[in-house]
Structure formats: structure tokens, C-alpha cells
Assembly symmetry: C2
């Protein structure tokens, strides 16, 4: 049985989204077909509107609809610290913790030669210019992911910033809370051992 | 941190889709924001277009963009048999098997008083009218799900059709292939025992 071309197209478009496999795309498509037409329009509008209205904050490069964004514009934030993250989602993750009160810088990727992501496509120039212009900044926390690419990117940025005298730190790697030693991988374990501290 | 209202709206719209929780909605939203604008428009168009162009086949009630649909219109199909399924997705599942060559009838739901789905909202009248008009039909296979609701709906339809003299069958329930007896639930096991056959 062939699908109607418009259904086939919808399934294929949905299947391009991350984490949506063939079966999920089908389930979503059939759900959309069963929705009232105005609800479908709400969904479709929200997609286009979000993409159209959202731009990058000229300071931290996070997604925003105002410039500067609500974090960069918040006078209660600590302007001495910048936390560098890979992508906008990481900003919301950090904010969820409700502990960090400094600013952010979003790289929009990590250095990944295997996936053809070079250093040029990251928002690195913007970070350097920001550090040069803003002499309030005392610390840059590198919070890229604990992956080969995240580590390499963090190391590269650290080397780039260090000469300026600004303190550069990396968020700790170790055993996650609630985890069993037995199931820890070797690299995590060895990192956790090397980073041990007095009790 | 508050999200930009358009991002918040996108996350909320995506989160209304089945199987998309809060975290997935966020991941999808940020992915959409990172897509080129024309790709976003493709996605949004495919959603509206599919919903607008697709209607129900006047014969089998499946989604289609032609009327009758490609299955009902296919002269090579066996017109003596109708397989009754809960929803359009089930038609694709049956077709994937490439074994069944009869026609379909899509109920668009099951009788589920707990979820306020009455018999009136199912495409039951359409099935009965179809059986009355089309005297080629010899067998109706009830392939609603093996759930309480699916069983109840099948039983109800069987009772409705039986007086007409058309053969009414139910797809078999039993242990799925590759499964261990040990992990079978009691109802499945008892059904499998009762439906045992000569070897």
C-alpha cells in the first residue's frame, strides 16, 4: 500500500527530526491527521513563528527574542563569570539547577573534525571579542560535554584564553550521584580517582 | 530563566503530541530553531498540507487523498473479505505483512466508556451500511487490539453482523513468536491454551 503523497511527505519530514524514528514519525503523522484543523494550524504556526522571531543574543549567542537576552540583561546576575556551553539547551539545563548566577556563552557546537564541524563554525570569535571588550570578567567556566569533542574544545578554548590572565576552569568529571562503582566506565573512574579530594 | 514566548509556545505545542514528553519537546524545539528557515517551512507546510488534503475514504474510512482510496480502488484485492481495524496505522501494519489481500474498514477508535468514546463516534454505521449495500462480502475479520476495549468492540460488532449470515472471525490471540512461556501473562497463556490445535 502506498501512502497518500502528502502523508508520505509528512512522515518523511517528521522523521528528519532528532530522536524520531520511522515508527514514531508514522505515529505522529497519524496523530496530526486526526487533530482538528485549527490545532494543526497552531502547531504549524508555532514552528514557523518560533524560528522566525528567534535570533541569537549579540552578547551570549543564546536564542532570544530580545537583544540582549533576558540573562545578559538581568542586573542581578554576576557579571564576573561566564559559563561556556555547547548549545542553548545546556543553558536551560544549567538554569534548572538554580545555583549558577553568572552569565553564559553558547558555542553552538563543538569542534568535531569527524563531523566536519571546524572551529570557525563555533561562536568562538564572539567569545574572544567579548572577553577583550568586557574587562569585568574574572572567570570562564568551560562546561562543554564530557566527550572527546567537548574535552578538545574546552582544551582549545582554555589555551586561547589563558594568556589574558582570566581564570579558566572546567566543570568536574566523576561518578554521577547515585551511581554504582561497578558500572562506571574506566575513563570516568580514572578521572574520579585523579580528582579525589580530602574528606 | 524564562524562555522567549515563541520558544515556550513551540515547546508546549510539540509537547502535546503523543509520546513527546517535556524533555523531547525541548530537544525538538531547539533542533527546529537551529534548522535553516526553508527547512522549517518545509516541515510546517507538510503538516498543514497533509491535514488539509487528507480525507476519509468513503468506503473504508481510511485516510486518503483520493476517493475511494488506493486499497478500495485496487482491482487485484479480494473483495469478499473486510478486515476491521481500530485506526489507520493498523492498516499500514497489516499491509507490511504482505499477506492479507482483502479490504479494510477503519473504526477510528474503540468503544471505551472510560475515555468517553461511545459507539456513536466509531465508524460503525458506515460498516453496517457497507455490508448491507455490498453483497459480495463473505467474511469480516475483527482485528481490533487485544485489549479490554478492543475485545468489547469486537464482541459488539460480531453480535451486530452475525444475523446477516456473513462469517465473522477474530484474529487469534496467543503467545507471540520468540517469546518465553515464563514471561507470558496469565490471560495470554490461558487464551493460548484454549486455542491450542493439533500438531
Amino acid at each position: 500500500m502506498r501512502y497518500a503523497p502528502t502523508i508520505a511527505r509528512l512522515i518523511s519530514e517528521l522523521g528528519k527530526l532528532p530522536g524520531i524514528g520511522g515508527k514514531s514519525a508514522q505515529r505522529l503523522a497519524f496523530h496530526i491527521l486526526s487533530m482538528p484543523e485549527e490545532k494543526v494550524r497552531d502547531l504549524s504556526d508555532s514552528i514557523v513563528l518560533a524560528r522566525e522571531s528567534v535570533r541569537l543574543c549579540s552578547v551570549c549567542q543564546n536564542y532570544t527574542d530580545t537583544d540582549p537576552c533576558s540573562v545578559c540583561d538581568d542586573p542581578s546576575r554576576d557579571r564576573k563569570t561566564i559559563c561556556v556551553v555547547e548549545n542553548p539547551r545546556d543553558v536551560s539545563t544549567m538554569e534548572r539547577m538554580r545555583e549558577y548566577r553568572g552569565l553564559y556563552h553558547v558555542l553552538h557546537g563543538v569542534y568535531s573534525p569527524l563531523q566536519n564541524v571546524g572551529l570557525d563554525s563555533l561562536k568562538l570569535k564572539e567569545l574572544i571579542t567579548r572577553l577583550q571588550k568586557d574587562n569585568e570578567i574574572r572567570e570562564v567556566i568551560l562546561a562543554t560535554n564530557q566527550t572527546a569533542e567537548g574535552e578538545a574544545t574546552a582544551m582549545y578554548i582554555a589555551r586561547l584564553i589563558k594568556p589574558s590572565g582570566i581564570r579558566v576552569t572546567r566543570i568536574a568529571s566523576g561518578l554521577p550521584m547515585g551511581s554504582d562503582l561497578e558500572f562506571a566506565d574506566d575513563i570516568t573512574l580514572s578521572k574520579a580517582m585523579r580528582a579525589r579530594h580530602e574528606f
